[in-house]
């Protein structure tokens, strides 16, 4: 499978996966219930099918990131913006059968259309981006990575301090709305800090994201107003989840060979 899939079973995937994990908010199916639809396709011979995605909750309570990211921000950001992207995507997919049957990763790459994005791209990518972002943070986050991740950072950036500087600089020099990423570049087989505009994410270049930071104004304005520097530093010091990053790196190494294995000499 060419695409990098972070979730073990994609909870935000189309509805034939019957296990919807906790915190899943069922979208309002406009026509028939799940049961009715299944009956309908069985007896009518697979006619109209829809792909629906659900809004997955962050892996922590909405006030768990206080005082660094307020509950109010989470409520508006996740409950408002993220939810709107999911509902917008579902509305668009209703009308577009060609996009049926993709996982979220595949949908993002498909709708990006090699740089000429389809109208669904914005919603699809933003749903993916926000899922990834909530997972990139944890209560009691920050501090430093350990073991493999730290080693790789030191190899590719010289030192953790240097990486942190680059990350903060990228966040502060982004023009307009966008995201900052720590990615594992597949071709170059190294970590890099990149910034993307609006909804673009490194999946579209087939790279593997490790950590992300939302630099759209809605992500920080309620808590920090225009003080981007404070927001970025708070993220690095108290929110970023290096545990998750370690997990993502481990999976990434299944797809990208980061070096010769250390074979002990007999």
């Amino acid at each position: 499978m060419g695409s990098f899939c972070y979730h073990t079973f994609p909870a935000s995937s189309h509805r034939l996966v019957s296990d919807f994990s906790q915190g899943f908010k069922s979208p309002k199916l406009p026509y028939l219930s799940n049961q009715q639809e299944r009956w309908f396709s069985r007896y009518q011979g697979a006619s109209k099918v829809f792909a629906y995605y659900g809004l997955r909750a962050p892996p922590y309570k909405l006030d768990a990131l206080e005082p660094y990211m307020s509950r109010r921000t989470l409520e508006k950001h996740w409950g408002g913006h993220h939810r709107n992207y999911v509902e917008g995507l579902n509305k668009q997919l209703e009308k577009n059968e060609v996009l049926y049957g993709c996982t979220m990763d595949e949908l993002v790459k498909l709708t990006y259309n090699n740089g000429n994005p389809l109208p669904e791209f914005n919603n699809a990518a933003q749903v993916w981006n926000h899922d990834f972002f909530w997972d990139s943070m944890q209560p009691g986050g920050g501090d430093m990575p350990k073991l493999g991740v730290l080693q790789q950072i030191e190899k590719d950036f010289g030192s953790f301090t240097n990486f942190r500087e680059k990350f903060v600089e990228a966040a502060l020099t982004l023009f307009g709305s966008g995201w900052v990423w720590l990615v594992l570049k597949r071709e170059e087989r190294r970590l890099a800090v990149i910034k993307t505009s609006n909804a673009v994410c490194p999946l579209v270049w087939d790279d593997i994201p490790i950590i992300s930071l939302d630099m759209w104004e809605h992500a920080y304005y309620l808590d920090y107003k225009n003080d981007k520097g404070k927001y970025v530093n708070v993220f690095m010091n108290h929110l970023v989840s290096w545990n998750v990053a370690t997990g993502r790196m481990a999976r990434a190494e299944a797809f990208v060979n980061l070096g010769e294995p250390k074979i002990p000499i007999a």
Binding site: K76, G80, G176, L222, N226
Partner: protein
């Protein structure tokens, strides 16, 4: 204000042959709280005093670096600075227009345009309501950060509704375009008050739009 810019110009005439002019924050022609309840005083203060000021500060910095690069003939730096100049200079241009596009209700904010601009709007869009509808829907649909503009195409003499991304000025959409009204749809322009409900912001801002200014610009540029 004029005295202040005169002083900065005199102060910098000593440096270099070019006499680099620095730019400064224009004063608002009304109080921060004068546009309530359409736009809160808190937003106006942050928007003017922090955001617009930041664009000006960074614009001045970029120009200073450009002067240095030009003097050295450092083409790489000259080209690299273009995006910072476009972004920050554009931010300065756009916000300077924006402050003039707004006015308190008691000074005519929200009063619909009459005479030549009013007729032109009816001709081009059918009615003022239709124009407002179009601007609002384009503004709401804009992804990310940007501006929605109501402008005049000086060449074709037609009125247009356009959007630009980030801080691109209207002229990037057409060299003959002159902005009559611009509405900032960056989140910082409305988030503290309207949160993520951009359509509400767009609906309410019309109560403080300065059509008199737009008419003046229209009359001047459509000759």
């Amino acid at each position: 204000m004029a005295l202040r810019s005169l002083m900065t110009r005199k102060a910098t005439l000593g440096l270099g042959l070019r006499g680099l002019q620095t730019f400064s924050l224009p004063d608002l022609p009304y109080d921060y709280g004068a546009l309530e309840p359409a736009i809160s005083g808190e937003i106006m203060q942050l928007h003017h005093h922090k955001h617009h000021q930041a664009y000006i500060t960074n614009y001045n910095k970029a120009l200073e670096q450009l002067e240095g690069a030009l003097a050295k003939g450092d083409t790489t730096s000259i080209v690299k600075l273009q995006s910072a100049i476009k972004f920050n200079g554009g931010g300065h241009i756009n916000h300077s227009i924006f402050w003039k596009n707004l006015t308190p209700v008691r000074e005519g904010g929200g009063e619909p345009p009459h005479s030549s601009l009013g007729w032109a709007i009816d001709t081009n869009f059918g009615s003022l309501e239709a124009l407002v509808q179009k601007i609002n829907s384009e503004g709401a649909a804009l992804q990310g950060s940007g501006w929605v503009w109501f402008g005049l195409d000086k060449e074709s003499k037609k009125l247009v509704v356009e959007t630009t991304a980030n801080q691109d000025p209207l002229v990037t959409k057409g060299q003959h375009l002159v902005p009559l009204l611009g509405i900032d749809v960056w989140e910082h322009a409305y988030y503290l008050q309207y949160k993520n409900v951009r359509p509400d912001y767009l609906k309410n801002i019309w109560k403080v739009i300065n059509w008199k200014y737009a008419s003046e610009v229209y009359d001047k540029e459509s000759k």
